[in-house]
């Protein structure tokens, strides 16, 4: 009898302990970790980044007035086009850059759903940007976490000096 009751007790306990958690604890936002810099001596006094052809007030992706040598931003990439463009307003000058990429939607988990995974294949930029350096072409939901303290997907070297 004791054995049977113990057995039943544990069976009920097992049933009750089951909890199908629906919370997403993983990163499900895919952002390109970008570092803007003017070099080792010139500081960025102010910066504003928007998507190309995005002119609305709410379309600002990054805005900062903190003077710094480098400024980082997480930038979303296009879901439907195979390239994404950004406009950068830094120290009163406007420049732009484009990234060509491939995209696959991949399942993260049951609770987090799907998220895009990109691979950067080419870059292009306007004359007011010195260069674009790609250090990690893979952009996935873990990118922000991966480069939370150090590193980035790309570095944008800006022409900040007066021409």
């Amino acid at each position: 009898m004791l054995f049977r009751l113990t057995s039943l007790f544990f069976a009920v306990l097992l049933l009750l302990s089951c909890n199908n958690s629906s919370h997403c604890y993983e990163s499900s936002e895919t952002l390109l970790v970008t570092t803007f810099t003017g070099g080792s001596t010139l500081k960025i006094d102010s910066i504003l980044v928007k998507g190309a052809a995005k002119t609305g007030i709410g379309d600002t992706l990054k805005f900062s007035r903190d003077s710094a040598l480098t400024i980082s931003a997480g930038l979303p990439l296009s879901l439907s086009a195979d390239s994404t463009g950004f406009v950068v307003f830094a120290n009163g000058r406007t420049s732009s850059f484009w990234l060509k990429h491939t995209m696959n939607l991949k399942l993260i988990s049951q609770s987090c759903g799907f998220a895009p995974n990109y691979k950067l294949v080419a870059t292009r930029h306007s004359s007011l940007i010195d260069s674009v350096s790609v250090s990690d072409p893979i952009v996935d939901p873990q990118s922000v976490e991966r480069y939370a303290t150090n590193g980035q997907n790309i570095t944008i070297y800006l022409h900040l000096a007066t021409p």
């Binding site: 544990f10 199908n20 799907f114």
Partner: protein, 270 residues
Amino acid sequence: MDKILRSIFILLLLSPLAGNGQEKKEVWRYEGPRIGIDLSRFLMPSIQKATQSAFEIQADYPYKGNFFPTVEAGYQSINDLRETFHYTNKGPYARIGVDMNISKFESLSDNDLVFVGLRYGYSRFTQETLTANYSNYWGTVQTSFPKSNLSAHWAELVFGLKGELLPNLFFGWSVRAKFPLATTKDPNVTPYVIPGLGYTNTEVPFDFSITVSYRIPLIKTKTLPKALKAGGSKHTDSDRDDDLDPNDPNNPNLRNSNGNGLNRMNQQQF
């Protein structure tokens, strides 16, 4: 579900009363194949509110008293409709393995088991993502992934109990640690649930089963299986002698002593 649990509880309480008032009968030990169903497969969807359905049948056969070669087979399907995706996954699975009783049978009528076991599991299943949505700054994308055929292999460690509720009717539970060995890769949709293996969001998925099974009493015997050495105290002949009532006229020991020559270790097929 409350009704089911209440019924099981009442059944458990009443089961010892079933034998009251009956005349003392000759005690035999019955053995044979045991066939059952896993109740947890039916109960889980109502508890988890998940859109899944499953059934599983289990069978084992006693071997040398304490070993139970086991086969389990089932079918599971999940239809997961969420805000951002609609995913389906279904397929059959099977496990083979063996359970080993680690407890000591106290008497010929004692069939309760505490067991540890090993399983090898295999599933061949299909999955399909009917819709997958993602939205960001640039807009929304919606796509789908066609049906793909996948398979998985895994191993399991099992620990559980089985108690004889009524003659030949067993109720039991087991907890299982599952070790995925190999799964067919899908580049975009790694299956988060595999029939028979369960959810794959951890490296070692844990699962449990609650079984009701019926033993077909094909063999009756007077042999009490010896306890395994690792299971604790050893069975000796004197242990077996203790199991029989010296006042019982059917006690084969008594008949032996009277020279009837009945072998107490006889085994009878019928």
